[in-house]
Amino acid sequence: MNINLTIIGQIIAFFFFVVFCMKYVWPPITAALEERKKKIAEGLDAADRAERDLLAAKEQAEADMQDSKEQSAAIIEQANKRASQIVDEAKEAAHVEAERIKLAAQADIEQEVNRAKETLRTQVAVLAIAGAEKILEATVDEAAHAKLVDKLAAEL
């Protein structure tokens, strides 16, 4: 309980401890703390950025998907249109062809009919003359009556 030199000794020891602490203990520890704080802040920042990037990428992907959907829909529609167009064209061509074939057939038929008529006419003329010869049992001047018979044949 006596005040003595210890008090000075304590002051000196205290002084050296504080100086040592200030020079060799405090700065490295607080520097490490500070650096860790910075690292954590950077890490959080990076995480934030990554999240934002991810969101943007998702949006981009969705937009791309939408685009391609629209594109494919357009392509399908175009194809459908083209297909129906081809069908229509084919129909038209077939129609035209059929018409042409029909017309040709009709022409053929008409020609055939005319030819048959012609043949029939000549045969009828011959037949008529022969018949008239038999009926009259007289010689008919072929030359003199040919005109008459032709006229008859033409009337048939």
Partner: protein, 289 residues
């Protein structure tokens, strides 16, 4: 009964006596009745019921136990923290680094909340005070008889293991803080500013002597209260441990365990108070009033 009272008294006073080394002047009667010869003698002080050699030695003596334990604990603190500081990583800290960092951050938070000037000294100072005082107080939890017993087996008559129960230790730290208060008061405000602060308030310049008296008392009260608060708390705590140690050995734990648990709070709190008051006083020294 009388002898038992005597032994209790001598037990207590033995436990509360420092190991003091100093010079006994010529002609002093020693504890064993011998008289110191010519030129005095350098020796460890012994005390008996009638003789107090440590007091006779006066100022020029040193409490070897206080110095030994306080310096050992200070070196322990610095060695531990220095080891962590060397290997400090900003990555994932180990257990030891985590522990040290939590203390450093605790001190730093306190300093930042109280002290708003730029001064690289304050935070390390606060850390040193907090940990060192805590370790010195912690010696209080070592059972009171262990170390003195070992010391007496080694031939050392006295051994007071808690440096903060020695008024010299606490007063030494408080005076160092006081010196810093004066230094920073003058550095921040100039001699004139500091003098003005001491003499022109709280009552204006017409009551200058009265102001001066008030302010100087207030100024001196700072280190004195700082030293006596820590010393008083630890001395009283140690005293209670010693009194408990006087009980029969089978009954001691009933009191010593609750008191020790309670004391964990006190030693931490006293270290914390010493640190915070130091910061507050130095913050006041930096501020204009």
């Amino acid at each position: 009964m009388a002898t038992e009272l005597m032994t209790s008294k001598s037990y207590i006073s033995h436990h509360l006596t420092n190991l003091t080394f100093g010079k006994l002047p010529e002609g002093t009667t020693r504890y064993d009745g011998t008289i110191v010869g010519d030129g005095g003698v350098w020796t460890f002080a012994h005390s008996s019921a009638t003789v107090n050699e440590a007091a006779t030695m006066g100022f020029w003596a040193i409490n070897v136990d206080t110095m030994f334990w306080s310096i050992s604990l200070g070196i322990l603190f610095l060695w531990l923290f220095r080891k962590v500081a060397i290997n400090a990583t900003s990555g994932v800290p180990g257990k030891m680094q985590n522990f040290v960092e939590s203390i450093v951050e605790f001190v730093e938070d306190n300093v930042n909340s109280i002290f708003h000037h730029k001064n690289a000294l304050i935070a390390p100072l606060a850390l040193t005070i907090f940990v060192w005082v805590f370790l010195m107080n912690l010696m209080d939890l070592v059972p009171v008889d262990w170390i003195p017993y070992i010391a007496s087996q080694m031939g050392i008559p006295y051994m007071k293991v808690v440096p903060s129960t020695d008024i010299n230790a606490t007063m030494g730290m408080a005076l160092a803080v006081f010196a810093l208060i004066i230094y920073y008061s003058i550095k921040m405000k100039g001699v004139g500013g500091f003098m003005a602060e001491l003499s022109l308030q709280p009552l204006g310049k017409w009551l200058l002597p009265f102001n001066l008296f008030l302010e100087i008392v207030g100024l001196i009260a700072k280190p004195v209260s700082l030293a006596l608060r820590l010393f008083g708390n630890m001395y009283a705590g140690e005293m209670v441990f010693i009194l408990i140690a006087l009980l029969p050995f089978w009954a001691q734990w009933v009191l010593s365990v609750p008191w020790a648990i309670f004391h964990i709070l006190i030693i931490t709190l006293q270290a914390f108070i010493f640190m915070v008051l130091t910061i507050v006083y130095l913050a006041m020294a930096h501020e204009e009033h």
